[in-house]
Symmetry: C2
Subunit: 212 residues, 2 copies
Amino acid sequence: MEVRKVSEAVIRRLPKYYRHLLILQKTGVERISSGKLAQQMRLNASQVRQDFNCFGGFGQQGYGYNVSTLLSEIKNILSLNQPYRAVVVGAGNIGTALANFEGFERDSIAIEALFDIDPALIGSSINGKPVLHTDELETYIKKNGISIGIIAARRSAAQNIADRMQAAGVRGIWNFAPMDLTEVEVPVENLHMTDSLLCLCYKMNQNNLYEE
Amino acid sequence: MEVRKVSEAVIRRLPKYYRHLLILQKTGVERISSGKLAQQMRLNASQVRQDFNCFGGFGQQGYGYNVSTLLSEIKNILSLNQPYRAVVVGAGNIGTALANFEGFERDSIAIEALFDIDPALIGSSINGKPVLHTDELETYIKKNGISIGIIAARRSAAQNIADRMQAAGVRGIWNFAPMDLTEVEVPVENLHMTDSLLCLCYKMNQNNLYEE
DNA sequence: TAGATTGTTAATCGATTAACAATC
DNA sequence: TAGATTGTTAATCGATTAACAATC
């Protein structure tokens, strides 16, 4: 299975396929054609086939795709067959919400600890996860084989945290701080909540009909 | 200022311009060229000019763009010159984080109440915002002129909530539930946190160099 | 005026969609 | 075998980038 440059657009669709296939499997659907899948997900059948063929052909002419096979292939493409250990820096609203959220566990992504500089928080725990002083970040990452660093701190601290996470050896950074990190070699996924909300404000005031 | 179909890609860049210009203004920068702005934001100068020209020309040949003017134009494009009242359905992790988050207020977006069906939560308040029973959703939206509905409930409830929000008159929906809403006429912005995390997992396992 | 930089048209690049031969 | 549907190539569409005349 030879993987070439996969476009960002394709990558962003992968979790959607994954989600949808999980539902299909749970519903007991055994096979699905690109046409049906496209219809359900509001995509184009050609696009679905093109997407899958970025990673090799998982289908069978005249039959379609076996849901379980496809699901496990996509799970594999997303590298969800290995566990991930994560830490969150910033035990504020977002950090707390993430620590309380159980949904990542299905994908074997476990938040193991939080870090903050607020003395009132240090030593406490959130959903059973310890809140430690940010000074201990590097040591903890190294000692516990943490591969994902989550930045849920204020903007002004984000770059420094990213640098330190990277130096300590994380393999990826999930950034909630509303800024673009620079000089980071590991992959960064930004999740800027406010940006999304502002896009909504924009769209709310366009008189375009939102009905493709 | 004649506005034609603005592409999704352009729309998604608008909040980033807004954010960056806010910083420039705060730093006391008075004017900026498309070239400089592009460099700072890691975009292309032509792209920057094209983007702005979707909405009319805000610049001046030989000078560039006045930061304050440009900022206020973009603020205007994003329709941030009006206040928005919002409610959140689902007073779980995400709902609580949103209610506690003060960052939206700068943009005059105020979360006024939360809704849930858990009797243990109803009657309480989060960051001064009441948690009400979801049965009261429609009444509240109508009575208080709520324009944004935020869905932070579980997947299985999301479509129903969306339908009810829309019927009650919200002008836009911000959806955190991991599913695609259907039959909604008002604009919907999806924010699927898990999708973003899964994209990170994908990228963490590609041996591409992430260094454009 | 000369230099800088926009607004805008044209060229390029990439992603989506269509078409169809291969084949289960 | 006939029908269905993939994998894949070709066509189309749209977004990004380049180029440059207009003009401050």
